[in-house]
């Protein structure tokens, strides 16, 4: 790895992207972690060696803190020798231009002619409702009203701790056009398990293709949602209009209404 820096207004090379501290390609990375070793010079050396094993150059342990009971915490800076080719990266994204509430309502009125029935819930033992409420309820989020306020949607918010079976039963009962599922707790991948089960159940009942099924939550990406068999996934900062637009477009595209 040659550390060059600029000799003029040299732009970075996107095919060989490395971390940047204060000099182009210096590779500077900050790390912190604990080791199950008593606070000692040997522990500090272990921390240094470990960072070397990550393929880093010049690891410098700037801080070692005795956590007690045979554990030590470290703050390390080092230089990353690896690079990535940013020109080769493709991230799946939800397509279509952003639409406002008004535009979504207009699209539904024009192309579907009846309000779409949306069913929302936080499933499993997850008790977090703030995310799904932000999308569904009148109040909304970040100044953007929730789907409840749209003419184009008839929304049902089942709240949290909803068993997948109950959600599916309710979907059948209300002839839902779309299911909106929130998962916030991600410890031991519990979100993936709960989300996966729902898709299995919908497929088993032959319902999966008859509705739009999307999920959301702070650790949900569109990519992960696709992997889990959802039509879309919405992460942090999502606002209702984007979700509404996606649902409406899907229903139209797939001729579900």
């Amino acid at each position: 790895m040659s550390i060059t820096g600029r000799t003029g207004a040299t732009p970075p090379d996107p095919t060989r992207v490395r971390p940047y501290g204060d000099t182009l390609d210096d590779g500077q990375v900050q790390l912190s972690f604990s080791l199950p070793l008593p606070y000692s010079p040997e522990a500090t050396e272990a921390a240094r060696l470990l960072v070397k094993k990550m393929g880093m150059l010049d690891p410098r342990v700037y801080h070692a803190k005795d956590l007690g009971h045979g554990y030590t915490f470290f703050i390390v800076y080092a230089r990353c020798a690896a690079s990535v080719d940013a020109t080769q990266i493709v991230v799946p994204k939800i397509e279509g231009d952003r639409m406002s509430k008004k535009e979504v309502d207009a699209l539904i009125a024009e192309r579907i002619g009846r309000p779409l029935v949306i069913l929302g819930a936080t499933t499993g033992t997850d008790a977090h409702t703030v995310g799904i409420d932000a999308i569904l309820n009148m109040k909304g989020f970040d100044g953007e009203k929730g789907l409840e306020s749209y003419h184009g949607f008839e929304t049902h918010n089942l709240g949290a701790q909803v068993a997948n079976e109950d959600l599916v039963a309710k979907a059948v009962e209300l002839r839902a056009d779309a299911l909106l599922v929130s998962q916030v707790v991600t410890q031991k991948d519990s979100h993936k398990i709960t989300l996966g089960q729902l898709i299995d159940m919908l497929e088993a009942e032959g319902l999966r293709q008859r509705m739009v099924v999307v999920c959301g939550g702070p650790r949900i990406s569109h990519e992960l949602a696709l992997e889990l068999g959802y039509d879309a996934g919405f992460g942090p900062g999502t606002r209702a209009n984007d979700v509404g637009a996606f649902v409406a477009r899907q229903v139209i595209e797939r001729g579900l209404a």
């Binding site: 912190s32 972690f33 604990s34 803190k65 956590l67 007690g68 009971h69 554990y71 915490f73 033992t125 997850d126 008790a127 409702t129 703030v130 409420d133 709240g159 949290a160 701790q161 707790v185 410890q187 031991k188 519990s190 702070p218 942090p236």
Partner: protein
């Protein structure tokens, strides 16, 4: 403290007094309801305190075996003590042996002939007194240990451990105690509050926490006692006494010398959708146990600001604290045991938000001058930006020491991602110690300008609180909850989980533990 000259906020003592009057009326109303009912959890608690423990072959806890039998027979309203004590009298066995026999199918709990009422009550009272004495002994032991060791000035530093594996929890708790934490709270596995039984044994695979089991309590208590002895500082142990097994957990905690318990029916109603009738009845009994055990309870008003807006809805927190104070007092809890909860949850991007938080924290302090207030750090507005998060928590710690809170729940800079890693906690403890020591005397030094933003904010919150409490008094607490007055959540008195575990007390309802506790706590019978 609410007196004009003592108040840094220039609070109107009359307004604060009317909050207390309204809250007392609300509590009186609930008190009447509670005294007419019992629940499966209350009855299971009675069995536990009478010495029943363990699980049957299907891993069903013996307290459930006994109480389920009672309930199945439609006799829950009589209380489990009657048949249980009768069985003890009839068989000469200990209550635990009786339960084992019932579970083994050797004994039909409901077919045992009752001795005379006087004999039953005498035996019941003796067994109950043993339980009450055992709890008193734990309380004395705590007092002895605390007297021997150093104490830390308020706010106490409170941290959580939440690995899902009690053995990891113990390691984490011990390091935290070594670093200076005063209180170690063990977080429960996500699903437990909805379980209508208490799991048994040590947990090694919980979700976001371990189960509150008696064995887990023991493992943690032992680890922390050893650490306390090494450090010369008593490490308090805290767990969650809420959900469908509220009073059972109180009993377990009392038996294992827990020092602090999250204990609030309103939390369960609003955030776990537990039936309001069920959990208010459960809470009453659990709080008597906590009162007698010398446990500090923590209430959950801080959570309101996660579903409602902290700038708009602070008065709901204060109103609920007055209600919780009135409810707790009726169970024998003294102010020093009341960890009334509140939180610093405003959008950090709000201009002058720091001043508003200061006003709120000082207001709560002045309304509850002798209480061990529990102050919750920023959570909702914590993001993946751990560097900003550290600063949010530092400002929170500054407000905490400045307004002399009682229990400071330490914020974690990793709040938005995971339950705390060992180092996250160490960083949090170190920063709290730093900030609080560096600004230790701020409260003595600083005054708030009359007519300024801080005083105005406090005054308007009090005014809104008076209004809300008056309204709740007029509606009744059940109806107020149904109308969504708290946390922007609506909960009907007949909705949620656990209503089927509630029964009206029969005329011959018998609960020797309750009787003994009322006597010990000098509560009205």
């Amino acid at each position: 403290m609410s007196h004009e000259t003592d108040s840094k906020l220039g609070l109107d003592p009359a307004a604060v007094a009317s909050c207390r009057v309204a809250a007392d009326a609300i509590a009186t109303d609930i008190d009447g309801f509670v005294r007419r009912h019992t629940t499966v959890a209350v009855e299971r608690t009675v069995t536990r305190l009478l010495g029943v423990d363990g699980v049957d072959a299907d891993a069903v806890p013996l307290p459930n075996v006994l109480v389920d039998r009672l309930q199945a027979a439609g006799r829950l309203g009589e209380g489990v003590a009657r048949p249980l004590v009768a069985a003890v009298a009839a068989t000469g066995r200990e209550p635990r042996e009786v339960a084992e026999a019932v579970s083994a199918g050797e004994l039909d709990l409901l077919a045992v002939p009752e001795p005379g009422e006087a004999e039953l009550r005498q035996l019941g009272a003796r067994l109950a007194q043993q339980a009450v004495d055992r709890v008193a002994a734990n309380r004395a032991e705590r007092a002895r240990l605390q007297a021997e060791m150093q104490t830390h000035p308020d706010p106490l530093l409170y941290v959580i451990v939440a690995t899902g594996n009690i053995y990891e929890d113990a390691v984490q708790g011990v390091t935290a105690a070594e670093e200076g934490a005063d209180v170690i709270a063990v977080i429960r596995s996500t699903g437990q509050s909805l379980l209508d039984y208490v799991p048994f044994g040590a947990t090694t695979e919980g979700f976001g926490g371990t189960y509150a089991t008696q064995e887990n309590f023991r493992i943690m208590r032992r680890a922390l006692d050893e650490a306390s002895a090494r450090n010369g500082r008593y490490a308090m142990l805290c767990n969650y006494c809420s959900g469908l097994c509220m009073p059972e957990i109180a009993a377990m905690g009392a038996l294992e010398r827990l020092d602090m318990m999250l204990n609030d029916a309103l939390y369960g109603i609003l955030f776990r959708d537990i039936n309001p009738q069920r959990t208010l009845v459960d809470q009453y009994f659990s709080r008597m146990i906590n009162a007698w055990a010398g446990v500090i309870i923590n209430t959950g008003e801080d959570n309101y600001l996660t579903t409602d807006d902290a700038i708009e809805a602070t008065h709901t927190v204060l109103a609920s604290q007055f209600i919780n104070e009135a409810l707790a007092a009726r169970c024998g809890l003294v102010p020093a045991q009341m960890g009334l909860g509140h939180a610093m949850e405003m959008d950090p991007m709000a201009k002058d938000g720091f001043l508003m938080e200061l006003a709120q924290a000082q207001l709560v302090r002045e309304c509850f001058p002798e209480h061990r207030l529990k102050y919750m750090p920023p959570t909702k507005y914590m993001t993946g930006d751990i560097f900003r998060g550290l600063i949010q928590d530092a400002l929170f710690n500054l407000v905490g020491v400045w307004t002399r809170q009682g229990i400071q729940l330490l914020g974690m800079h990793t709040e938005a991602m995971h339950t705390p890693h060992m180092a996250d906690r160490a960083i949090a403890i170190e920063s709290a110690k730093y900030v609080m020591n560096n600004a230790r005397s701020l409260a003595d030094e600083v005054e708030f300008k009359p007519g300024g933003l801080i005083r105005r904010r406090a005054a308007s919150t009090v005014a809104a609180t008076v209004e809300l409490l008056t309204e709740v008094r007029d509606l009744g607490l059940f109806e107020a909850l149904a109308q969504g007055r708290f946390a922007a959540v609506k909960r009907s008195p007949t909705g949620g989980r656990g209503l089927d575990g509630v029964a009206e007390r029969a005329p011959d309802y018998y609960n020797p533990i309750e009787d003994a506790l009322r006597a010990s706590l000098r509560l009205e019978a």
